[in-house]
């Protein structure tokens, strides 16, 4: 069971820290859809696919001292930044290092905004549908975010690139 914890630490280590809880959630979800061993269960929530179990694991990892959580005051809201701790390097050894293709994926995702990752993750959530139906679905569940055609275009391109990378 601790392997699930360890693979989260590996993930954060590879990204050299992740800023924003939403970003972490969505990055892990996208990685899961690409085949990264994420066993945490995801459901659809306010900001798209979200895993309560992952939130719990992250909190546990902070308590265990393998991840550190930094609260950043952004005026209107607070943001949380996650980093691995020096103690985590031995713990990570419970699972093998990431493959090169996953490392590239993480690198790609890290440079995207959390709004964009939310769109990508939501599209992945409805990936059993045809493209048009996917777009329609996103407009229904994410009406307030008003994603533009350009954003959809970019998101689909991003998904194709990620998938290509993995093959």
């Amino acid at each position: 069971m601790l392997r699930d914890h360890a693979s989260i630490v590996r993930f954060v280590a590879q990204a050299q820290g992740i800023t924003g809880r939403k970003k972490l959630q969505k990055m892990m979800y996208i990685a899961k859809k690409l085949g990264y061993p994420v066993h945490e269960k995801y459901e659809f929530h306010m900001y798209g696919p979200y895993s309560e179990e992952l939130t719990a694991r992250i909190e546990e990892l902070c308590t265990m001292g393998f991840l550190s959580e930094q609260k950043e005051d952004k005026g209107a809201y607070t943001q949380y930044a996650y980093q691995t701790t020096p103690e985590s390097s031995a713990f990570m050894e419970l699972v093998p290092p990431l493959t090169d293709s996953f490392s590239t994926c993480i690198e790609e995702m890290k440079h995207k905004s959390s709004r964009f990752l939310e769109l990508v993750a939501t599209l992945f959530y409805f990936d059993d549908l045809e493209r048009e139906a996917q777009v329609e679905k996103v407009h229904i569940v994410k009406g307030k975010l008003n994603f533009t055609d350009e954003e959809f275009e970019e998101a689909f391109q991003f998904i194709d690139d990620l998938k290509k990378n993995n093959c």
Partner: protein
């Protein structure tokens, strides 16, 4: 004036005449039974059915299957009363939602009456995809019951056929409410939020059948003060104390019942037995009894029909048969489950003790015990109530109180009791093992006892 329950038992005049003139005059969605039907229920006293659609869905074979799946899985090995099924829970959730919309919401401008049937169906069918001992089964075969709920609603099933008669897109609408991807968030929140019909039913039902004295709260009071708002359901502030009781009962039930270490131990064994059977099958092992029902799950080729034909009776039959299997591990694990010879456990802090894990695995091997099946780490964790912090990526919609001034306030800001448990996660980590097999005098066994902190006898 709200209509009372008693009054509602009589069908309104217009509906009665419509029935006389022949059912075909009304579309299926609006057809009512000639007389109201009731199910006797120990928690809600009566479950009332008047809609033809609801009556038909209950009769569908995929819904009847829920009678053969226990609501609490392995908990009956600790609390012997906990034999109640997902069937009874599903009816309970339906009844709570029915009371909310028919007694509190009907006629209010913020409530859209055309959503009535979809939300009642979603309430009734929200757990449709659960399999036998869901948690263990999903873990071993990497499945998700929510995907099966969707698949049964949208696939070639009796439930799908019935829902399709309402309208072509009706099965999809029901599926969207359950998946929380339905446009009307108020409808979604009746079935999944921090104070929803699902949880209100299972807390009370599980308390009743386990016999524990936690889990009770004044649901009628909460239902009376629920009010529909644009995106969610709010609670009139005068009902705050009933909600406090509900939050506390939730907290108690999680730790006293749902995370009970002995029932977790049974689940650990069940999971490992299924893992073992899967592995044996992959290795081409010849079972004394061909595991026909599981074959397609072992090799991942199962169909929806295979899934729907599984239930806990089938699984327990195999476990009984497997107690006689030649494979020692499978036979032992199944006997342990059937005859309740469960694993012992110790508290295990993974932060401090994770290095011990490897050492123990090695020692178990030396003692001739396979750690893959006999040394299991398991953790439980729960967040009793989460509040929303503006701008932050919190995902749970908090409970909102409607103040006399019309203002909306978040619960934990008004209630000190709720504030005390808000946003605080409690976790529990344990390590499970067969204690009676570690009593020998070999160096490995002595060492294991030492690492686990077991007393020398």
């Amino acid at each position: 004036m709200r209509k009372t329950l008693f009054f509602k038992k009589k069908l309104p005049y217009t509906e009665r005449t419509a029935q006389k003139d022949g059912e075909s005059m009304l579309p299926y969605a609006q057809q009512k039974l000639a007389e109201e039907k009731v199910f006797k229920d120990p928690v809600h006293r009566y479950i009332h059915i008047r809609d033809q659609v609801i009556w038909d869905v209950i009769g569908a074979k995929e819904f009847q299957r829920l009678r053969r799946i226990r609501q609490l899985g392995t908990t009956y090995l600790v609390f012997h009363g906990a034999e109640h099924s997902r069937f009874s829970h599903s009816l309970g959730v339906y009844e709570i939602v029915r009371r909310i919309i028919d007694n509190s919401f009907e006629g209010r401008p913020e409530w859209d009456q055309s959503e009535r049937l979809v939300v009642l169906c979603a309430a009734l069918l929200h757990d449709l995809g659960h399999g036998p001992f869901s948690h263990a089964f999903e873990n071993v075969f990497q499945l998700d019951h929510e995907n099966f709920t969707q698949a049964i609603l949208l696939g070639n099933t009796e439930v799908h056929e019935i829902l399709s008669r309402v309208s072509e897109d009706f099965p999809q609408k029901v599926a969207d409410v359950i998946a929380k991807t339905y446009p009307n968030k108020q409808v979604v929140s009746l079935i999944s939020s921090q104070i929803d019909a699902d949880r209100m039913d299972y807390l009370q039902r599980d308390a009743y059948f386990t016999g524990v004295s936690y889990g009770h709260f004044d649901m009628e009071r909460i239902l009376r003060v629920m009010r529909p708002r644009e995106d969610q359901v709010v609670i009139k502030s005068s009902g705050m104390h009933a909600v406090e009781d509900y939050i506390m009962s939730r907290y108690q039930m999680y730790w006293q019942v749902y995370f009970h270490p002995v029932s977790r131990s049974a689940e650990v064994i069940l999971t490992k037995a299924l893992h073992r059977a899967k592995k044996l099958s992959e290795e081409g092992y010849q079972f004394a009894h061909e595991p026909t029902h599981f074959k397609s799950f072992f090799d991942g080729t199962f169909t929806l029909e295979d899934y729907v034909s599984l239930d806990e009776s089938v699984l327990l039959t195999y476990f009984q048969l497997w107690t006689k299997e030649e494979d020692v591990i499978l036979a032992d694990l199944c006997s342990r489950f059937m005859y309740r010879k469960l694993f012992q456990y110790i508290e295990f802090d993974p932060a401090k003790d994770f290095t011990k894990m490897r050492e123990l695995e090695q020692l178990f091997r030396e003692a001739g015990i396979d750690p893959d099946y006999y040394l299991v780490f398991d953790s439980s964790s729960d967040l009793p109530y989460d509040f929303y912090r503006p701008g932050e990526e919190g995902e749970r919609i908090p409970i909102h109180l409607l103040m006399p001034s019309g203002e909306i306030k978040e619960l934990s800001r008004q209630s000190e009791i709720v504030e005390a448990v808000s946003g605080k996660r409690r976790s529990d980590h344990k390590l499970y093992f067969p204690e009676e097999r570690l009593r020998g005098n070999t160096p490995a066994e002595r060492c294991i006892r030492d690492v686990l902190g077991l007393k020398e006898v």
